[in-house]
Amino acid sequence: MTLLRLALGNLRRDALGAAFVTAAIALGAGSLFFFAGLGAGLSNAVARLFPEADRTVEVVPPRLRLGGLFGGRLDEAAVARLRALPGVTEARRRLLFGAPASAVYDGSFFGARLDVAIEVAAEGVERGALAAELPRDEPFSAAAGSPVPACVSSRLLDLYDGVFAPTRGLPRLTAGMLLGFTAPITLGRSLVAASRGPVETVPVRIACVSPRAMLAGLTVPLEVARAWNLRQGLPGDGYTGVSLSVASPRELPAVEAAVRSLGFELNSGDREAAQAAGRAAAVGATAFELLALLLVVLATGGVFQLFSGAVRSRRREIGILRALGATPAQASGLLLLEAAILGGAGGALGLCGALGAASLADAWLRRLPFPGRPETIFAFGTASAAAALAVGLLAALGGAYLPARLAARLDPARTLSDG
């Protein structure tokens, strides 16, 4: 306790220097924590926008087909071959509705009036493809006399909320509000092109909002898309795509090569977008983390200066402590204790500052109307907080290390006689 009081008293003696060094450590450790949180938050945001992009291979039929020579149709046999590839854990079939469809709606829309006519695209998928977002009691299958369950893209909802709703005076929506909303769509009729098939109107009910759903259209059960195609006179067998899940991102290249060797092509748009966004986030965050580390190094230099001066001005005090029985290690330990107090305080201040700055940044971003904006672009964890505190402590201890060693080597007899 006496040593702690002595250490605090020593720090108070050069309060300005101690405050400057604490602020420098706070800036360095806080910046490191802030940018680590920003990098992790942006990675999370990218992962939310493109879920499982690094574990999924999207297979499509080849654009050029000459019989079976350069690969063939995505039929059940092809799906079985794809499912059997090494590294593949799941193969989920996808089927685009191949005829025109449109929706005309003129009615109440969550408290506002909506009068809209739009072209509708649709794709059929297996329930498992949307299992993460579908309610547990939602069978996601066609039932006679009931509206067709369909999922819409969360990115589309973000676009609506961020751009469409504010500019047209429409209410902003959440995924929860949309569930159960039912509207009719007309198959076989286009608003912009001639239609060839029979025209029929079917009610569609929103069953989920998912980042895995088709971006600009409705994602419906696979058998519904097949039945709609058949009723429009389109082929009822085969698929327009297969999503292969792989156990780990490391397996992607091998699986992609195997898929190509089977004569199929890859649709890697989502993954490339995810990778580009992830790379940009990572590079930006890393650059700023390096800058923060530079600040930490500068803070370490400040600590060195402060404690070098302290050892010079406190030679006699150190000699007294040695005369009272302090070992060299205990004499240097007192300086390291003072440094640890500065480092701990600086690290803690930096953490608080980083959390405050992150809240301000999030609040500012919430006022910007850009689609897909997450609630927060930061992800702070206890590990990164502990790391930032440790960096603050290490910066202080590292800066004080050489002066402390110098203090340990002071000749007590000489310091006492020199004064």
Partner: protein, 236 residues
């Protein structure tokens, strides 16, 4: 009292001490075969001119200076064979220092100054009552909570004596302990030191310029030419 008993039962014994310094490129031999023995409870006054090596001798006996040749036995332990941490621990256990200008840490209270030596000892944490008792013995108990910087010169030196004795040392080394005090205060501190040390069986070596203050000492030695000589009776 035999010479061996002095070094082995709590006193100090030095044999053939040689200590040199290089100054301006020349070797200056401050101690040149000095011999000394102080038994527990014995008070020895050490006189000598400025620069004669009194402080150097005290530093060597207290384990602060290890650059000497010869032998020093402190409470039965040979100092010259000890590594620095062991010497520090032995010093903490067995030696008390009183310096000319008290050397209290001004930012700490008097009580904290007294308890400071215990901060460097393993497993020994006496409470404030130990400090109060020591301050009582030097007559400044009411000043326990005062900051050292606020004390008068005499009070500071009494506090320094209390700090040197609170750890119950076997050897008390005093370097001009009355040098910064006026005559009356110096005499009071000198009497206090001698009576406390005798009462506790502590071996005391007091280096001083002023023989008149140390008439109560058991012996007086003079350091001259690097050697110690007994001073004539009545000179101290």
């Amino acid at each position: 009292m035999s010479e061996g008993a002095a070094g082995g039962t709590g006193g100090v014994e030095a044999r053939g001490l040689v200590r040199s310094f290089r100054r301006d490129g020349r070797e200056l031999r401050v101690l040149d075969g000095a011999e000394l023995s102080i038994a527990p409870g014995e008070v020895v006054a050490l006189f000598g001119e400025s620069g004669s090596g009194k402080s150097t001798l005290l530093s060597i006996l207290g384990g602060l200076d290890d650059g000497f040749a010869g032998s020093v036995r402190l409470s039965g332990v040979e100092l010259s064979g000890l590594a620095e941490p062991e010497r520090s621990r032995l010093r903490a256990r067995t030696v008390g220092f009183v310096f000319q200008d008290h050397n209290l840490l001004p930012r700490l209270t008097v009580s904290e100054n007294l308890l400071l030596p215990f901060a460097f000892r393993r497993g020994e944490r006496p409470g404030p009552e130990a400090a109060s008792e020591a301050l009582e013995s030097v007559g400044i108990a009411p000043l326990a909570r005062e900051r050292a910087a606020r004390l008068s010169g005499g009070e500071r030196q009494r506090a320094a004596v209390a700090r040197a004795l609170v750890t119950r040392p076997r050897l008390l080394l005093c370097d001009e302990p009355t040098g910064s005090l006026d005559g009356a205060n110096g005499r009071r501190v000198a009497e206090l030191l001698v009576s406390l040390a005798r009462g506790r069986g502590v071996a005391v070596l007091v280096a001083s310029h002023d023989p008149s203050l140390w008439r109560g000492a058991d012996r007086a030695l003079e350091l001259s030419g690097g050697r110690l000589r007994a001073r004539l009776a009545g000179a101290a």
